[in-house]
Symmetry: C2
Subunit: 122 residues, 2 copies
Amino acid sequence: MGKNLEISLLLDFYGDMLTDKQRDVVELYYNEDLSLAEIASHSGITRQGVRDSIKRAEGQLLDCEGRLHLAERFRRIQERLDEITDLARDIERVNDRFGASNEIYSKTKRIITLAEEISDAE
Amino acid sequence: MGKNLEISLLLDFYGDMLTDKQRDVVELYYNEDLSLAEIASHSGITRQGVRDSIKRAEGQLLDCEGRLHLAERFRRIQERLDEITDLARDIERVNDRFGASNEIYSKTKRIITLAEEISDAE
């Protein structure tokens, strides 16, 4: 089975909906990039057991996204935050050229910081 | 039992994690503000059955929030978006007084629109 990059993202959002054991196996596979055989020898279950466990966990993560659409919602939020940051930088540049108001400068800086804080808090 | 306002909010975020039947009952109770007796006569189950069903659903919604913290995450996002909107309005006012740049004006308007779009997409 090929590793599905989307699963790694869904794990960030919904990892806490899995049991500890499921999450461990999926994290070893997707985040630590271990093979099925390595996880099997590491956890004392069969390679097939590991594969089944990962398949079940993937199903649950995809089911969570199908219900809550968190990854999709945060992707759209991120697009808009990126645009807000670009606009704030544009305002800084226009302000540099014309008014050079310190007040506008400090307020655009703060907007950029807030947009970053929202992104990082995901 | 008292109606818990937080549940209504959690229902917005996690309602799709409940079964259709559970969601119906909780929505009648919290969003339509029906009494347990009204829901019982409406759904053909006992008042105690309705109460148990609501309690179970509340437990699941609270469990989802305990794991994913979505309501809390979006509350923090909203606080920052409100601050971004206030800053953009401040920039508009400073720009009105001093530079009166059309470019700054249109870019602050766009920031305010994007912040609104993020809020509404919750």
